[in-house]
Symmetry: C2
């Protein structure tokens, strides 16, 4: 019996030895009824304490892999499996249904050019994690653990962590929203929120309106629900009203409209207060519910107050508001929420439960504690300043170096550029070779348009890289023009 085991310092030694012997037994390398070395022998052999070996053998005994005969030592149980050379080979590819195939096909991470180390990537619109206050986060964890202790680690409720919900209700009230006939459901971020709303409200082939372009993940989720969304063109202050009216004349039975009024993804447009009211009134008159994506509205740089559309509705229940701090704060913990009519939330809660019981209660509790102590306001003040600076520099450089038809974006974490008669994927090909990547705009369009456009995410880049990257993009465009 050869014990060729390398011990490391990462986990208890008795478990390492136990698992090593376990695997030898299960793989038939030690056969049934074979005698293991005595604890003394093995402790000498492996140069560990005898107690460690005793623990390791106890562990194996607990696992039912060895038994001891008094005074004779430890022996291997009969756990042999004789099917090891089995050759059942299922062609899983052929078993995947249309939904699974579409999900893979629409998974852009798998099909777009990959980022490589050292590249300047304008692809991300994630927050810069260096702005996160880790010490405050740790403090929030320790505080909530001493309050909630083990309770927070056991099952919670599908609807969410009570104190977080109460906090968010106040938070929404502070945006001017009447929450009296509404409820909040906590979700795993925006993505789950939008997914379960469509699960509950739409059927294959239904009609949904959205801005065109719009958030690519929203397009993916709509397509995975068997829906080809109808896109409405954008003016510089949001949805083009004539296009909206035209589409409403031409189409019956529209199920809902999805809107991103603030720092719209991908264009960065902020819908004007006037237009918010206009759009709200038009959709109301057609009785079409609005799914309002509160995406990054917390990031407003300027001092202009713009209320969410949900604030316009008062006690009316036609708007479902999707919120998420995770777009700017701690995306890794995946917490978003849906604020909507109580009846609707009642159904969504059951769907949520059927999909994953609930969102991590630990994460909800930490976030609650973090928010309650006023850390978000401190963070957002700092973040706004830094992102505003990046945005202004990106805009300045884009205007200077990129010959564009239009440069959009009023702040937030990205700008959007439309070129004159040049395909952005051609630009991307050239830039990729020079170590610069960005997101081609076509993925944001619902009608295969936008091949002359692209989005530059600036949140995680240094000022230097923003400048350098935009110059390279500008040069690549000039090369193509020649």
């Amino acid at each position: 019996m050869l014990f060729d085991i390398k011990l490391d310092k990462n986990s208890p030694v008795y478990i390492q030895i136990g698992n090593y012997i376990k695997s030898m037994i299960l793989n038939g390398m030690i056969r049934k009824e074979e005698k293991l070395p005595s604890t003394r022998e093995l402790s000498n052999m492996l140069k560990v304490s005898r107690n460690t070996i005793i623990y390791a053998y106890e562990y194996l005994q607990d696992e039912g892999l060895i038994y001891t005969k008094r005074g004779k030592g430890a022996f291997v149980c009969d756990v042999s499996i004789n099917l090891k050379k089995d050759n059942w080979n299922i062609k899983w590819d052929r078993l995947i249904n249309d939904y699974g195939k579409s999900a893979e096909k629409l998974d852009i991470i798998k099909h777009e050019v990959p980022w490589k180390k050292g590249m300047i990537s304008f692809k991300s619109i994630s927050p810069d994690e260096n702005l996160f206050d880790v010490e405050e986060f740790k403090k929030s964890f320790l505080n909530i653990m001493s309050l909630e202790r083990e309770k927070i680690l056991n099952y919670g409720y599908a609807i969410g962590y009570k104190y977080l919900i109460e906090y968010l209700i106040d938070y929404m009230k502070n945006k001017g929203i009447d929450t009296s006939n509404k409820k909040i459901l906590i979700t795993n971020g925006f993505t789950e929120a939008f997914d379960i709303i469509l699960d509950c409200l739409v059927n294959k082939g239904d009609k949904i309106l959205c801005e065109n372009p719009t958030h690519n993940t929203a397009i993916k989720i709509m397509k995975l629900h068997g829906i080809n969304p109808i896109g409405i063109d954008l003016d510089k202050d949001g949805v083009n009203i004539d296009s909206l009216k035209k589409v409403l004349e031409d189409n019956q039975n529209i199920k809902l409209m999805y809107l991103i009024p603030s720092y719209h993804n991908p264009t960065g447009i902020v819908m004007s207060p006037k237009k918010r009211i206009e759009v709200y009134n038009i959709l109301k008159s057609h009785n079409i519910p609005i799914i309002e994506d509160g995406f990054n509205e917390e990031l407003r740089y300027s001092g202009d107050h713009v209320s969410p559309i949900a604030a316009l509705a008062g006690k009316s229940n036609g708007i479902v508001y999707l919120g998420s701090f995770s777009k700017i704060l701690f995306p890794g913990i995946r917490i978003g929420w849906i604020l909507g009519d109580s009846d609707l939330i009642n159904y969504l809660e059951s769907v949520k439960r059927s999909k994953n019981i609930h969102t991590s209660f630990l994460d909800q509790a930490i976030l609650y504690q973090y928010l309650k102590e006023g850390n978000f306001e401190k963070y957002i003040k700092k973040a706004r300043k830094i992102y505003k600076n990046k945005y202004e520099i990106a805009l300045k450089y884009a205007r200077e170096y990129i010959e564009a038809e239009d440069i959009l974006g009023e702040g937030g974490l990205h700008i959007f550029i439309k070129l004159k008669d040049i395909k952005s994927r051609d630009v991307l090909d050239r830039c990729y070779k020079k170590g610069v990547v960005f997101t081609p705009g076509d993925i944001f369009y619902v009608d295969n348009k936008g091949d002359n456009s692209f989005r530059l995410g600036i949140s995680r880049l240094s000022i230097e890289d923003i400048k350098k990257g935009i110059k390279i993009i500008g040069e690549s465009i000039k090369e193509i023009k020649k």
Copy 2:
């Protein structure tokens, strides 16, 4: 202008004051161009420092709600919303599709008798949180935070946290499973794992086999996918082979079989090693993939080693193994995994991304750190002992007090009881009035059978309550018999 604000100690005072004024402005209680009190006046009025008021006003200015005129003070911006008396009332109930309606209807939490404080509840099979080692958990958090820092709070990958996956691959190898052509996807617990597998593999009306009775959440998920599962009767050592063969003769195109071989929910049966091989071979010969639910197999009390079915398959790829520590450890953080053929996991990964991007990276990292340090082995040793004791007492008392046709369960966190010609819901009605609740067995059956059965979850009850509760159940049965 009346400042009727109650300050608390939970969050920074300047934010409380800022939010109070914000809400007054947004609700039209302070009108545009109105002058706010000077910072000095307000600090006197509210008995807080002048700096606090200065911060509050800065906050309101950042939000675009007030502006200052040099030397004249702070004034309210024009943010009025005139739609407040709006009355758009959508009947959301009528918009919910069949899926949403079914999810609500099948949501037993909403439709079963509710637990009330002071009751003895045998409903739960969650772990007893008092066994969790909170100090070790905290240590794991602090250790992983000092290693990963802010990185762990930003976006991760759909597939899961690399180190946790590597740990779990080793963990599965240690169960004797050949992982060489397989991959792991991290999910939000078993529920999400099973849900996204069905999303990817089945279509409405497909045939799925399962044990009868089986895990009620699995039944719910199958039904929500438009599937009426075909149940196979159980012997005391697992699936009845004749029934299985009969069903396979009578049915073509069966998509897959779902199995819970260890501490089967709800019966507590452990499928014998011999039967595992038999079932495996039969399904293999029909080319029907097995979804193996590793439910609580870590809880084996006795020293008998029983390999998961996935260990029988060697390099064959016909088995998809669903694992979860969360059933016995930290259910609140919702972490499970799918081990399966690499091609399959590739699709499931895209589906996972489309549903919620990924499972909390913080939670995955903490769990990894906790496991790596050998805490799980320590915990499970303690937990096994305590649950074994509860199980043995429950069994003893059930045999003594309950006149049953059959009492099932070989360990785990529950036992399952079949009565002679008595409906368990009648028993439940009586018990409820006496402050005892349990789970009626019918919810675990796929064919409306089992109305004479019920499940007793014992994990979270004290020994005293187990005794007391079982006596009350026994008495209630006797009362009905009279």
